[in-house]
């Protein structure tokens, strides 16, 4: 009998082009997403070596990181951003790569548009010069972030030189309580395994709480896999996956659909497949989560307190806590609930999808953003924006006092004008609370969309479950 295999094993094995004696593998890459920031040097490298893009049709390009979220018709004022964007357009034209342009209604964050267009599919290998590529693993794809040299390698060869990662399984038993979301789940997972806990592994997320999530929720979970150190996070495809994909523009069509479906159904891990590392959490034990520090592993429940470094025995960790508290301007043992905020950012590839916006609208409907808080909603894509406007969510947001913006990465990375001022404190639905991530000297607390909405209304971090009841 064949050795039982995991979902990851099956995808990996079916993409091996060549394997060296030391295990170094030449892995075939089916799909490649690219954006304006990490691609120009790759295109330049190709050109200077006189090389061509091997299969241009397998790549999809879109600008997202370095673009304005308002007044787009007026063009891009920042000359550097404009050059980056023009360079992307030119490179795509020269190399015959499909591009969704800035003013196209489908434009958005790479990790939002890939699934939306049906570009992301089960069983494929998908890469992007961006660490949050794990998002696409929600469809049962092997998806991971790469650097620019590797982007160039994929362009030229449609392959990557890789070492096979190990298998890790994260099980979420039980159900999530009301008011607790996919974002809280992944923050709790990262808090448990640590920011390097998944290094060298591909993570498969399993369990009833996972199965119960929509595709949007599953993408939120897989998205932050890199925050636990693993490049790829996967969830086995099921009916939820197939229902989401059917009829999407780039999904298999006609007689191809049943053929693809038949294959996709063979992908889930075999019953007794082995994993090199395991962790298990119970969904019932996960309250809404908030980060207090400058690493996504610095996470506590909303009813918890800022940690006290003096109780940390390891000197390196104690120093890390001290410097994080110093940066965040927080005192040990301060209750999290009640920490005053200045800004709220709803968006990013973690939480910029329609379901996230609906969750926010539900909380802020007929309420007002606290007078000292500046709050913005940045949809993950033009199609999310359209959908939200059809549902009237934009009117709920603007009536409450939120800014309603054009889609893009925005204040998740703060390359454009959307940024925190030094010292400002933000409740953010994005994925990174690194020092300076949302603007130099800015202080980020990562939360779910519902928790960010509750903080916007209350003016401080607060338990959304109390606000809702």
């Amino acid at each position: 009998m064949e050795r039982p295999r995991t979902l990851f094993d099956k995808i990996w094995d079916s993409h091996v082009v060549d394997e060296q004696d030391d295990g170094t593998t030449l892995l075939y890459i089916d799909r490649h997403l690219t954006h304006e920031v990490t691609s120009p040097m790759a295109f330049k490298g190709l050109a200077s070596a006189g090389r061509k893009v091997r299969r241009p049709s397998t790549t999809l390009a879109v600008p997202d990181h370095n673009i304005p979220t308002q007044n787009r018709a007026a063009g891009i004022a920042d000359p550097e951003a404009k050059l980056q964007l023009d360079t992307l357009v030119q490179n795509c034209k020269t190399n015959g790569i499909p591009l969704i342009e800035l003013l196209d209604p489908r434009q958005g964050i790479v990790h939002v548009i890939g699934p939306e267009q049906g570009f992301t599919q089960p069983g494929i290998t998908l890469v992007c010069g961006d660490s949050h590529t794990a998002t696409h693993g929600a469809f049962g794809a092997l998806a991971f972030g790469i650097g620019t040299s590797e982007v160039e390698h994929v362009f030229a060869t449609q392959t990557l030189i890789q070492k096979r990662p190990k298998n890790m399984r994260v099980t979420i038993a039980g159900d999530l309580p009301v008011g607790v979301t996919a974002k809280d789940m992944i923050l709790a997972i990262i808090g448990t395994m640590g920011t390097a806990g998944g290094t060298g592994h591909a993570i498969e997320y399993v369990g009833p709480a996972l199965r119960a999530l929509s595709m949007e929720g599953r993408m939120t979970v897989c998205n932050m896999t890199i925050e636990g150190g693993a490049r790829a996070g996967l969830i086995a495809p099921d009916q939820t996956t197939f229902d989401y994909l059917e009829g999407r523009p780039m999904a298999p069509k006609g007689e191809m659909w049943p053929r693809a479906l038949e294959y996709w159904r063979t992908l889930p891990s075999d019953a007794d497949a082995a994993y090199d590392k395991e962790i298990t959490l119970n969904g019932r034990d996960i309250p809404p989560q908030v980060t207090w520090g400058t690493s996504p592993q610095d996470v506590v429940p909303i009813d918890g307190r800022v940690p006290d470094p003096s109780t940390e025995p390891d000197s390196k960790r104690r120093q890390a806590i001290e410097s994080a508290l110093d940066y965040m301007d927080l005192k040990p043992n301060t209750p999290i609930d009640g920490i005053k905020i200045d800004r709220v950012f709803i968006g990013s590839c973690t939480n910029g999808r329609i379901e996230d916006l609906r969750a926010v609208a539900q909380i802020v409907k007929q309420k007002k953003v606290a007078s000292h808080v500046d709050a913005m909603v940045v949809p993950g894509s033009g199609l999310v924006k359209q959908q939200a406007e059809q549902e009237g969510l934009d009117r709920i947001f603007t009536a409450a006092g939120f800014d309603w913006r054009e889609p893009g990465c925005s204040m998740c990375i703060a390359m454009n004008d959307d940024k925190l001022q030094p010292g400002e404190r933000c409740a953010s639905t994005s994925n990174r609370n690194f020092a300076g991530r949302q603007g130099r000297g800015g202080r980020t607390h990562l939360v779910s969309p519902a928790m960010a909405a509750a903080a916007a209304v209350a003016g401080h971090l607060t338990d959304v479950r109390e606000l809702a009841s």
Binding site: V17, T195, A260, S295
Partner: protein
């Protein structure tokens, strides 16, 4: 890729854990379409104050560390963003070797592809090198990739491990794409097979 064989110079101590690539090179340097000239932005927020003046207390702003070639740091260095600007900035500054107990995966690959040697060593050994680096009189060391050793100021040597394939590529400055293109017939065979089995990927 630039060859890495032997490197001798000042080692700079940065005893922090989980230093992410946003700290190595922040967002404003990601607007460039070039991979050169990033050394001035290396560790920007740690190195410069709000008015872009040097912070005198930051180690890279002090002698002899302004000319560092080797970095000694804490676990999980290079976590976070996939930006290859991180190794580009290190190399542009002049740092071609980083020693730590562990590195993040994407950063690891990115560095090795740019001729920046990353050396993983047990914490106790990193602690010894960190102490050397912290003492300006002892902070010069020599990294020899061929013999896989780091020679300290007192003349003693420490051995390190590296995968043979990576070592060969660094020593010879081999271009990955060139190597892969030698296998183009295998790539073509794979595509023919896959097209027959999963035609929807070729529609």
């Amino acid at each position: 890729m630039e060859i890495f064989d032997r490197l001798s110079g000042v080692a700079v101590p940065l005893p922090m854990i989980n230093l992410d690539t946003d700290q190595v090179i922040p967002k404003q340097y990601l607007k460039s379409i070039e991979r050169t000239g990033l050394g001035k932005g290396l560790f920007h927020d740690l190195r410069y104050d709000m008015e872009d003046g040097e912070r005198p207390d930051f180690v890279l702003n002090r002698e002899p560390y302004r000319k560092s070639k080797i970095l000694i740091t804490g676990e999980n260095f290079g976590c976070g963003s996939s930006r290859e600007h991180a190794p580009w900035a290190l190399a542009d500054f002049g740092i071609r070797c980083v020693v730590a107990p562990s590195f993040a995966d994407i950063f690891f690959n990115n560095s090795m592809k740019n001729g920046v040697l990353l050396i993983v060593m047990p914490q106790e050994q990193v602690d010894i090198l960190m102490a050397d680096a912290e003492n300006p009189d002892n902070c010069v060391m020599t990294v020899d990739l061929e013999t896989q050793t780091i020679t300290r100021a007192d003349g003693s040597a420490m051995a390190f491990e590296i995968e043979p394939f990576r070592k060969a590529r660094l020593l010879n400055g081999l271009d990955d794409i060139g190597l892969t293109l030698q296998k183009v017939h295998r790539i073509e065979a794979f595509e023919a097979r896959q097209k027959a089995d999963r035609p929807w990927l070729y529609a």
